[in-house]
Symmetry: C2
Subunit: 247 residues, 2 copies
DNA sequence: CGGTCGTTTGATTACGATCAAACGAAGTGG
DNA sequence: CCACTTCGTTTGATCGTAATCAAACGACCG
């Protein structure tokens, strides 16, 4: 289903929204040395403990990062959509500290770590925007710590649904608080630190109260203001307005 | 109690362990433009929503980052010790998405965001090491998501005690799995997503089972192997061996 | 048409929260 | 120097949210 001639445009557009790029930077990014790979739904891109020599850029589809505890429980750490880097950290850290798996069939570009590093360190505008990208990633991790650490089940689920809505919309993959969420309830549960059974009950309740409605994987946020309230959601941590001026 | 002539040596040593620096880089770091500030215990360094113009470097003492939920609950997001940057992200993102507060009296160096940014973007070796610093920060956040999301109370507490031990030792602030932890049980609870009452019970139990012993704020890990096991602790995420070669 | 995967619902359990109170140490003021 | 307060720790009793266990159902697929 995803396009067979994927481009780097989405990634460049995303980066550019955060920090200005020159025409040469744009060209350098769009023509970075890379190889393409198509990964089936549920396929692994990186495994915890790997020593990857590439950074993966998601060109189409969805993916997520996760860790498994000693007890065998899975915690999903982040969700990624087309245009996002999946493991920029592998450009600088040599051992993967978590795994990355696709949610849907996906196309990824593998960019050698060395190449990413060189781009980031020799072209200030690119370094700046990639750095901001990393920092926003970290900001989302912090919010997730709060979400699983201090919010009750209703709020956790509502919060993540709000986050998805804004991120998908920013990526051009949703509009009007309506989107296709390619995750099972079990995956959702592993993202918010609950069981799938309980997530199911929370979703049902949110539906009954008119905050959302669902049809298969399609989700409509019927009452954004209330869902936002229930989820204690403040979008500041997404830094979507991060139009930081150039130095 | 902290020294009155704090230096940047600790920070430089930390950064250098991760990625090599030239003599000129070292000098540039040690003589960065900055101002000093002394903050009492419990004082705020940054507040959520601030628009800070500086990055703070902790020269002595301890600090932590946190967020408050709509319900008024606090989640501590990270703990910091002398030599660490408290908010490198403020060099590139203009709105603080969380607060930073001291645990003890502390000395901090305020470095203008512009200056940090220029250093990072014009000196590749510095950019590289600061980037790695940011990436390791993010790796710790990810582990904390797992800790609060998927581990039971015993494991959560044990895990964070293990993390502290290794980080303090790496910073030269502890040895032999023995350290002074300047946190109340309530702060510990807010770091692991539990209540202080429950943290107290877990600590008591860990003590009774001979895994740790305590005297005031002094903590001794009596049985590292077992505590590590109970806490499902694998130090890989700390990337202390991140002696990544230069490009 | 059977089989697998994901969703949904029900019944019961348990872990950690909450409420409450006492205790000890350190600091303050009379 | 000693009451008195404050802050943090400790312990006990009870409660409630979400986990667990179990089973049925629906959709999609070969």
């Amino acid at each position: 289903m995803p396009d067979l001639h994927p481009t780097f445009d989405g990634m460049v557009r995303r980066l550019e929204r955060r920090s200005p790029l020159g025409e040469d930077d744009r060209r350098a990014l769009k023509h970075v040395q890379h190889s393409l790979r198509r990964v089936p739904a549920g396929g692994h891109i990186i495994r915890d403990g790997d020593r990857p020599e590439y950074c993966s850029l998601l060109l189409s589809g969805f993916a997520y990062r996760y860790k498994i505890t000693g007890e065998g429980a899975r915690q999903i750490i982040s969700i990624h959509m087309a245009g996002e880097f999946l493991d920029l950290q592998n450009g600088f850290l040599q051992l993967a500290d978590h795994s990355v798996q696709t949610l849907t069939e996906a196309e990824i570009a593998l960019i050698p770590s060395q190449v990413i590093e060189e781009l980031a360190l020799t072209r200030p505008a690119i370094g700046r925007t990639l750095w901001i990208d990393t920092l926003i990633d970290a900001s989302i991790f912090r919010e997730w710590v709060v979400n699983v650490g201090r919010r009750d089940s209703r709020a956790r689920v509502a919060h993540i649904l709000c986050e998805f809505s804004l991120r998908l919309e920013a990526a051009g993959l949703a509009k009007g608080h309506t989107y296709e969420l390619p995750m099972t309830q079990e995956q959702l549960a592993d993202a918010v630190g609950l069981t799938s059974v309980h997530v199911n009950r929370v979703l049902k309740q949110l539906g009954e109260q008119g905050l959302i409605s669902r049809d298969k994987r399609r989700l409509v946020i019927e009452d954004w203001a209330r869902l936002r309230d229930v989820g204690d959601f403040n979008e500041r941590y997404l830094h979507h307005d991060a139009t930081a001026m150039a130095a």
